[in-house]
């Protein structure tokens, strides 16, 4: 180490200064680091990634529509981020453990989520949907950055019981400002824990551009903590898959944590409650539309002669079917009974809760009686 250190880059974050395997135009390019990690990815595999992304976009569109119709209270669109979510999540083994945030619908999808898993929490039926141990995926986190520490702890557990699983911590560019994310890097590095940090830099944290959080590329932070890091085109599903395979392999081999910054863009509003016209230009959004993660895979498949009408029709039909199921799950939801609010506050009997449940039951009974009488 030299004793005088200077910032790792100029104080700008150039979105094209990324590792890439597929250009925005859909052309394959070589990358010395990434190449080796997708040698087995053939056309059929690329078709599957394409299908995943299309289905995800469709789930997302359905979420937005359901919100407009009042069927869910809120929806955090992930449009534009499909390659990041699908590419990274598809690099995980089923028994690895993912720690997504609220926007990672695609991670839940890739981990085996059911249609109802995408919508019931946003509908306000419950704070979560799937069982984390079934999907090997934690409940999507709302507290910015908190899950990064859970992932590190989980990975420390893996070290301690001799497993070879990897934990994957997903968070946004905004989250990198939180103490928790930094502490997560400290702990991960200190214990050499098998965890991969996946920072989705979608350029915005609600209304704040990434430059409020970081005037220098986010990927440049991890090395200071002793964590190897890669900045990758987050709209390039092949690069995301390859980079994540590198990172997961690094962690699984016992070489400690790794960090990815996936440079992408949040095409939609922060959530359906947000109005991005207040803070960002249409031009910027348009420019990113030309880097669409799905279009470029389509272009690649077309060039390889693997995108015919049948395939397109089948994917569209699958997306329609899934969307219908999602819609049905939302509209058919049955709200749990009132007294369920007292369930699972504690795992073991608790006199305080028992008493309050009984009191509220008596109160509701009184109402019932009143109405009857």
């Amino acid at each position: 180490m030299v004793h005088t250190l200077n910032p790792t880059a100029d104080p700008v974050t150039d979105v094209d200064d990324v590792a890439r395997l597929l250009t925005p135009a859909g052309e394959r390019v070589a990358d010395p680091d990434l190449q080796q990690w997708i040698e087995d990815v053939d056309t059929a595999a690329i078709q599957r990634l394409y299908r995943d992304m299309v289905l995800l976009r469709r789930i997302d569109a359905e979420g937005v529509a359901l919100q407009r119709q009042g069927q869910v209270g809120l929806w955090p669109p992930c449009q534009g981020q499909e390659a990041t979510q699908i590419g990274t999540a598809r690099a995980l083994r089923a028994d690895d453990f993912a720690f997504p945030s609220y926007r990672e619908t695609g991670v839940v999808y890739a981990r085996g989520g059911k249609p109802s898993d995408y919508v019931l929490a946003w509908r306000g039926e419950g704070h979560s949907t799937y069982d984390p141990f079934e999907l090997h995926t934690a409940t999507q986190q709302i507290i910015i950055g908190a899950q990064s520490l859970h992932a590190v702890g989980y990975a420390m557990g893996v070290q301690r019981d001799g497993g070879d699983q990897v934990a994957a911590a997903y968070f946004g560019d905004g989250a990198t400002s939180q103490g928790d994310v930094n502490e997560a890097m400290v702990f991960a590095s200190s214990f050499g824990a098998p965890v991969v940090f996946v920072c989705t830099n979608n350029q915005w944290a609600i209304s704040e551009p990434v430059t409020v959080q970081a005037r220098f590329p986010i990927a440049g932070r991890a090395p200071g903590f002793g964590i190897p890091s890669m900045r990758v085109d987050g709209n390039d599903v092949l690069a995301c898959l390859a980079a994540m395979r590198w990172a997961v392999d690094h962690a699984r081999q016992g070489r400690g944590p790794a960090f990815l910054e996936a440079v992408t863009y949040r095409m939609g509003p922060h959530t359906t409650s947000d109005d991005p016209s207040r803070y960002r230009d249409k031009d910027e959004v348009d420019a990113w539309r030309r880097r669409d993660p799905i279009d470029r895979v389509e272009a690649l498949l077309r060039a390889e002669g693997a995108f015919d009408e049948d395939f397109a029709a089948q994917v569209a039909a699958d997306a329609d079917a899934l969307a219908a199921e999602v819609r049905e799950a939302a509209m058919g939801a049955v709200t749990r009974p009132a007294l369920s609010i007292f369930d699972a506050v504690y795992a073991e009997p608790h006199t305080g809760i028992d008493e309050q449940r009984a009191a509220y039951a008596a109160y509701l009974d009184g109402f019932a009686t009143e109405r009857e009488g």
Partner: protein, 336 residues
């Protein structure tokens, strides 16, 4: 007098405080161009610039911690915490620094910080967006804690909070952000009733209802309903939760002899516990029945579709009124 929503009244309060005192700064997440997720800081950055209306990095401890430093340099920072459930990362800075620096330095350092918190539930929000953390701050010596219930108070009390040389945690009930009311903007905050005073929101003779924030509206509704049954409720809007204006409270309790306390927050060691304990200590011999608490249950805030069973409504308040009046109520004959 103008008709303003509470959100707009707070916005005006910030604007005038900034116009009057160049040392007043506003800082938080998304408060600049966006004007805050509730538009409470709408257009302030346009008017006062990015040096005084500061979009901060996404880190609450950082926001409050840097506000402490700004206060040390002579500024009066008004911090926005985006939602009630996001104040906890700043808890250490609030409890160990903001609340204690004046004491620690034997009065040499002042902490004229205002921490604004959009607050509480009933708005169908996702987890962490409907919390009522006020008791944590009330229990923290060195802080002042206020909660507003109408646009006029919101405007005046915000200005008083900003003018105070003590740190003030200022709670804004989300479910009243869009409720309108008459606001006199040209009142001098120094002449208005101090934020430490409670307000008798409605006079009555049978039962005293102690409450604050959005529950004031619910309590007033309950009072109207009770009136139809011939029961007269006196509703007290506490306004200040720390300190509580026990002079006003005790005067009412001595008159009615019966007390209902209501808030959304969980019951255990909540503000209601303090109110019942203090009222009992101060007015024991005037009490005809034990004070009743109508609060959120001791559960994490439930999912939106079920929140109506958590946030006390008019009927639950009336049930408690029956209880303190020794009339039949839901707990009659119930063995707990």
């Amino acid at each position: 007098m103008v008709q303003l929503t509470m959100a707009k009244a707070i916005n005006e309060g910030l604007r005038r405080a900034m116009a009057d005192d160049p040392k007043v700064l506003v800082m938080g997440e998304d408060i600049g161009k966006l004007g805050g997720v509730f538009r409470v800081t709408d257009r302030l950055q346009e008017e006062f610039g990015a040096q005084r209306v500061i979009d901060t990095p996404l880190a609450e401890s950082g926001i409050v911690g840097t506000a402490v430093g700004l206060a040390l340099r002579g500024f009066r920072p008004v911090v926005e915490i985006q939602f009630d459930g996001f104040v906890y990362p700043a808890f250490d800075q609030i409890v160990c620094q903001v609340a204690k620096l004046h004491y620690r330095t034997r009065g040499n350092v002042r902490m004229p910080l205002t921490i604004r918190i959009p607050w509480a539930g009933g708005v169908g929000a996702a987890e962490h967006h409907s919390e009522s953390p006020e008791a944590y701050f009330v229990h923290t010596s060195g802080l002042r804690v206020v909660a507003v219930s109408n646009p006029q108070d919101a405007y005046v009390m915000l200005r008083q909070a900003i003018a105070s040389d003590d740190p003030v945690v200022y709670f804004e009930p989300k479910r009243l952000y869009h409720a309108k009311g008459e606001v006199e903007l040209d009142v001098d905050p120094a002449d208005a009733p101090p934020m430490g005073l409670a307000r008798v929101a409605r006079e009555g003779t049978d039962v005293t209802v102690l409450t604050y924030g959005a529950q004031v509206v619910t309590a007033l509704d309950a009072a109207s309903a009770a009136e139809e049954e011939g029961i007269s409720l006196e509703v007290i809007d506490l306004r200040s939760l720390s300190p509580v204006d026990y002079r006003t409270v005790a005067a009412s309790v001595r008159k009615t002899g019966r007390v209902v306390v209501t808030h959304e927050a969980a019951r255990e060691a909540g503000v209601g516990a303090e109110l019942v304990a203090s009222v009992t200590e101060r007015c024991f011999h005037y009490l005809e029945s034990p004070p009743a608490r109508v609060t959120g249950h001791d559960i994490p805030y439930p999912p939106a579709k079920l929140e109506k069973h958590h946030v006390p409504d008019l009927d639950r308040i009336l049930d408690a009124v029956d209880r303190v009046l020794d009339r039949p109520n839901s707990l009659t004959g119930v063995e707990l």
